[in-house]
């Protein structure tokens, strides 16, 4: 950081904030000891957000892909057994080896895709909710307020859309 000499410091409150910054960005963990923690290492924000986004993406794309595949299969199986979401469950324990196909036939591919899309929309919302929890645990009031506000706006979207 020698080149910055004589100019404004990179982070004016660097000492106070360094633990915080490293917890956020994960570059420099050498001085990551946070004041009141007995844990070995406080979880970093990246470790909270990363899995939420990853699993959300995987679950939603799996649902959507299976739904799409079923739609394609629909044409082929159409004469064999009609697709419908309302036919109710077939007996699963039938001796017939094609019970899996029968089970699939009871699933409405369109509602499956819809569920996938709902998971997709819910993923960023879950991400925000997890940051709210993160800052609550860390007692970081400014960021708790910021993330909580965002979460409320997101939830308001569902309420307003449903009533409007």
């Amino acid at each position: 950081m020698a080149h910055a000499k004589g100019r404004e410091p990179v982070q004016p409150a660097a000492d106070k904030l360094s633990a915080h910054v490293s917890a956020m960005d994960g570059h420099d963990q050498s001085h990551g000891s946070l004041a009141r923690s007995n844990e070995v290492m406080p979880p970093r924000l990246v470790h909270v957000i990363g899995p939420v986004l990853r699993y959300g993406s995987i679950i939603s794309s799996t649902l959507i892909l299976v739904g799409l595949a079923l739609t394609v299969l629909d044409g082929r199986l159409g004469g064999w057994q009609p697709f419908s979401g309302t036919t109710g469950a077939y007996p699963l324990l039938t001796a017939s080896p094609d019970w899996i196909l029968r089970l699939l036939a009871t699933i409405n591919p369109e509602s499956m895709i819809n569920l996938g899309i709902l998971v997709l929309i819910a993923t960023p919302i879950t991400r925000v909710a997890s940051t709210v929890a993160f800052f609550l645990i860390k007692r970081d009031l400014p960021y708790l307020a910021i993330t909580l506000y965002v979460l409320l706006v997101l939830l308001a979207g569902f309420l307003i859309g449903a009533t409007g």
């Binding site: 004016p12 570059h27 993406s57 959507i64 929309i121 939830l155 859309g161």
Partner: protein, 263 residues
């Protein structure tokens, strides 16, 4: 793929393709687009997080403005006619691209000073540029201006079902004076949440048709992961030039739409 590389959600490409090429009703194109936008952001952010380029604090702070705007935008969709909106959008895009073009070579000397609020919230950070191998420290300027611009970006996002990365990236780039790669990565990070605010309204209204949205979402998600991998390896100036070209093209297209000219 192009979308996530530039910090765009991809909606800007998806909407013209759906409406102009495939003849989908604009209402459902917006619904499908906003889903693809979320898919892009989820996919790209999941990859970006490991790079540590995105500034999460800046992202979370600006999300307060973008989600508020997106909610307003999604609610206003019915009230505002499509044509004036396309025209406004076109003007905003053209302006952005000019600013970006003028600043295209001023990237490598990062801004080191912080705005008062940025210092208080500890927004300044650093990242490692994989193209040069150096660790770049930077400050965050112009927070209030950026918040205002993000409100506008959010409104556009909610209205048109785009991620409005085209507005977010210049806002961070120019107002906050963030390094280009940080702006792009942070934009991707925010886009999902911004779009989710609008998508919630569109979804509960029934504007999202599964059979249109599903193939779009899958295609875009795959592209987003590839695009995010590439971002870390490219030089900032090449990202910027590509970005300007895309902005120009979309702006012309939007203007034509607004004036009712079929391309």
């Amino acid at each position: 793929m192009l979308g996530s590389l530039l910090g765009l959600g991809g909606g800007i490409i998806v909407i013209p393709v759906l409406t102009l090429l495939l003849g989908v009703d604009i209402r459902y194109a917006v619904g499908a687009s906003i889903v693809s936008v979320i898919a892009t952001s989820n996919g790209a952010t999941a990859s970006h997080l490991k790079d540590g380029i995105a500034n999460l604090k800046v992202g979370m702070l600006l999300e307060t403005a973008t989600t508020t705007g997106a909610l307003i935008g999604a609610l206003a969709t019915a009230a505002i006619g499509g044509r004036p909106l396309y025209l406004i959008f076109s003007v905003v895009l053209a302006t952005s691209s000019v600013i970006m073009f003028l600043r295209r070579n001023t990237d490598e000397t990062p801004n080191l000073s912080n705005h008062r609020w940025a210092a208080r919230l500890g927004l300044g950070s650093s990242f490692q540029d994989r193209a040069t191998g150096q660790t770049l420290h930077y400050g965050v300027a112009g927070v209030p201006v950026a918040l205002g611009l993000m409100l506008v970006a959010g409104i556009v996002s909610g209205l048109l079902g785009v991620g409005s990365g085209t507005l977010k990236v210049p806002a961070m780039d120019v107002a906050m004076r963030l390094p280009m790669k940080v702006s792009t990565a942070t934009s991707n990070f925010m886009i999902g949440v911004t779009a989710a605010a609008g998508a919630a309204v569109h979804f509960t209204r029934g504007d999202i048709l599964p059979m249109i949205a599903a193939p779009v979402a899958i295609g875009v998600l795959v592209g987003a992961v590839v695009g995010a991998r590439l971002l870390g390896r490219l030089r900032s100036s090449s990202v910027r030039t590509l970005f300007v070209l895309v902005l120009m093209a979309v702006s012309i297209q939007m203007a034509a739409r607004g004036l009712g000219i079929q391309i």
